[in-house]
């Protein structure tokens, strides 16, 4: 079956909040279309919005976790990488207290992800050292 759909989503660039359609053909992105009758973007987009699909499949995308070994970042499994992060954060928390750890959430991630990371920082680590680039 040939599958073509247009997925309505929100532009990941500036704060205007234009929505757009990602055109998906057989599971791959083939383009962007604006959303007509949307209260903000009104069927239009800027040049960044029109090209929003372009970086998603870029060859530079990170595909596997990486751990620094002997000064170099080397590919690792999720198990190893998350295991190491959990171990280290636990260690610092125990040895130097929760405030020896700081977290940056992201103006590029979703509300849910921001919520989770600050919850992680406050509930699991126990610090208010949580910020993001709002000022930058």
């Amino acid at each position: 079956m040939i599958e073509y759909k247009s997925v309505l989503t929100t532009c990941p660039y500036c704060g205007t909040g234009c929505t757009l359609h990602l055109q998906v053909l057989d599971g791959t992105l083939v383009g962007t279309l604006p959303a007509k009758e949307h209260p903000i973007s009104q069927g239009g987009l800027c040049i960044k919005g029109w090209n929003v699909h372009a970086f998603v499949n870029h060859k530079d995308r990170l595909r596997t976790p990486m751990i620094r070994k002997n000064g170099k970042l080397e590919e690792a499994t999720w198990e190893e990488a998350l295991g190491l992060v959990a171990e280290k954060l636990g260690e610092f928390k125990a040895k130097s207290g929760p405030d020896s750890i700081a977290l940056l959430t992201s103006a590029k991630c979703t509300n849910e992800e921001n919520y989770l990371l600050q919850k992680f920082g406050r509930a699991v680590i126990g610090t208010n050292n949580v910020d993001h680039c709002a000022r930058l």
């Binding site: 989503t9 929100t10 532009c11 990941p12 660039y13 500036c14 704060g15 205007t16 909040g17 990602l22 599971g27 949307h38 209260p39 009104q42 987009l45 800027c46 040049i47 372009a54 499949n57 870029h58 530079d60 995308r61 990170l62 595909r63 976790p65 990486m66 751990i67 620094r68 999720w78 990488a81 998350l82 280290k88 954060l89 610092f92 405030d99 020896s100 750890i101 700081a102 940056l104 992201s106 590029k108 979703t110 509300n111 849910e112 992800e113 921001n114 919520y115 989770l116 919850k119 992680f120 509930a123 699991v124 126990g126 050292n129 949580v130 910020d131 993001h132 680039c133 000022r135 930058l136």
Partner: protein, 529 residues
């Protein structure tokens, strides 16, 4: 933003744009202003550079970077001395007007002209146009906030808006245009050192208890560190581990040489991102997250409008949605309360703990498309504009503010003022747009804008390569000679790591908001032989 974007087209009669390159930073908000202009609304733009929006404006003036408070005081001086203020609004809804009146009386248009470079008659013209065209909206962006007087600047905008009764009405208000798609949401969700989700202060014991009850454990009663403070603390060894999700301080933060040094001092740096950013290259562990196209969720735009992000394709390679990574990490550390099956589940928890998001559910977003907070219950229709009838604190407070000079002024050795900003074709640290062929071909690398006459004085004939140096660092890049920038000011877009404007910028911060002064620092320019 206190108000909404659709109101600009329908209601606003005057736009006062200051510190915002709207046509490049927020193109579709700028074109909304054009639509309003066609029905007679006036556009006023004041900026050190004549951007495209400046070319569209009915009234345009350049001014000296960092003199915003003086300019606002001058405008209010004219409005009060000509009796154009909204007396009923001031009497009913505000306090401390007399103090403001006394202070701004000192700021005559002539005096302000000397400080800001806007001619006295220009100040009168702007003041009259703004005051007579109700509803009038003030629009600003980082040009107002990224100063050591950032908080004063913001308070000045609301002083002016209240003075003319432009608060709590459709099409008016004070409208900071947020630069990133979800910077509003990141703040709303408590991605700040002083508040839990929904701006509930960490210092209030009842709030702490609320989150302890919900999560089993919560943060301390003391305010945490901001980005800038974290980096200093890392250098001092007080912060030993740093977890960075989707940020790139190695390009975005001020005084990059210092940032590099701080990150090198960090014992354990975890970076969760979609590309090998300049920051990720320094990490001990790199976790591959996914782009907006590969996950579900919500973003909150600059007008507090919460909208859905929908998964269109499967994650690339072994990458995972950021929310999945955090849940897995938390569980690895033995935490409970991270068993979410979907972002919709997470939103249910947010609904319960964040009063302003109480009624923003996935089911409602599916039906309505978007909802603007505050939206406390599932019956609530959302809030297009704030402060209707009453301010959150009761009466609106006027803040009499004296003008203060920026932290670093040009001098003989560093005679130019550097201001930084954005381009239409790129975004923030460029990690996405510079990997987009079309966008990259428009502007493949950094440049510095310099006034024609300044260029002549330097002996720059045409566009050539120059070295720009500040007290903190130096970069080499191409010059772009133009009429559209004030003399004595140069502009460098901050998207480009190879000629990072932030190697030059000053990390002096606003004492309250802790925002660095990106918009003013002193530099010199030399031709590269």
């Amino acid at each position: 933003m206190t108000n909404s974007i659709p109101e600009f087209e329908e209601n606003t009669n005057c736009f006062f744009v200051i510190g915002s390159n709207t046509s490049e930073g927020h193109p579709l908000i700028a074109t909304r202003m054009l639509k309003a202009q066609k029905r007679g609304a006036k556009i006023i733009v004041v900026d050190p550079r004549k951007n495209q929006i400046g070319h569209w404006a009915d009234i345009f003036y350049t001014f000296r970077p960092g003199t915003d408070v003086a300019l606002f005081n001058g405008l209010m001086n004219v409005i009060i001395s000509e009796g154009l203020e909204d007396k009923a609004f001031i009497a009913e809804r505000t306090e401390d007007f007399e103090a403001l009146k006394t202070l701004v009386a000192e700021y005559t248009p002539e005096k302000v002209a000397e400080i800001s470079g806007v001619p006295a008659d220009g100040i009168r013209e702007i003041a009259r146009t703004y005051a007579k065209a109700k509803p009038a909206a003030i629009l600003y962006a980082m040009g107002i906030t990224q100063h050591t007087t950032g908080v004063d600047n913001v308070k000045s905008t609301s002083n002016l808006a209240m003075l003319c009764g432009n608060m709590g009405i459709p099409g008016g208000g004070v409208n900071p245009l947020r630069g990133q798609n979800n910077v509003q949401g990141a703040c709303d969700m408590g991605g700040l050192p002083n508040v839990y989700p929904g701006y509930q202060a960490v210092t209030i014991p009842d709030v702490q208890k609320k989150f302890q009850d919900a999560w089993g454990s919560a943060g301390p009663l003391t305010v945490g560190l901001t980005v800038t403070e974290m980096l200093h603390a890392a250098q001092e060894g007080k912060v030993r581990a740093l977890y960075v999700m989707g940020e790139n301080p190695m390009v975005s933060d001020p005084d990059l040489n210092h940032v590099r040094h701080c990150l090198e001092e960090t014992e354990f740096l975890v970076v969760q991102d979609i590309f090998m950013t300049e920051t990720a290259e320094m990490a001990h562990v790199v976790l591959p997250g996914v782009t907006f196209a590969e996950k579900d969720g919500t973003f909150s735009n600059t007008e507090r409008r919460v909208q859905r992000v929908r998964k269109a394709i499967e994650p690339i390679g072994d990458s995972k949605p950021d929310w999945v990574i955090i849940c897995e990490l938390a569980k690895k550390m033995g935490a409970t309360g991270f068993d979410f099956a979907s972002p919709s589940d997470i939103m249910t928890e947010i609904n319960a703990l964040t009063p302003s998001y109480g009624g923003i559910t996935y089911a409602r977003l599916e039906e309505l498309g978007s909802l603007q907070w505050p939206c406390p219950t599932v019956e609530h229709a959302g809030t297009p504009y704030l402060h209707k009838g009453k301010f959150a604190r009761g009466l609106g407070k006027f803040f009499p503010l004296e003008f203060k000079e920026p932290a670093e002024l040009p001098d003989e050795e560093y005679p130019f003022t550097l201001t930084t900003g954005r381009l239409m074709f790129h975004f923030h640290t460029g990690s996405m747009t510079r990997r987009s062929e079309k966008l990259d071909s428009e502007v493949p690398t950094a440049y510095v804008e310099i006034n024609v006459r300044d260029a002549e004085k330097l002996g720059l004939n045409g566009d050539k390569r120059v070295r720009v140096t500040s007290r903190r660092g130096e970069i080499e890049l191409d010059a772009r000679v133009t009429d559209d920038i004030k003399r004595g000011v140069i502009f460098i877009p901050f998207h480009f790591a190879e000629a990072a404007a932030n190697k030059l910028t000053n990390s002096a911060i606003d004492p309250v908001a802790k925002i660095p002064e990106y918009k003013v620092c002193a530099v010199k320019v030399e031709i590269v032989k």
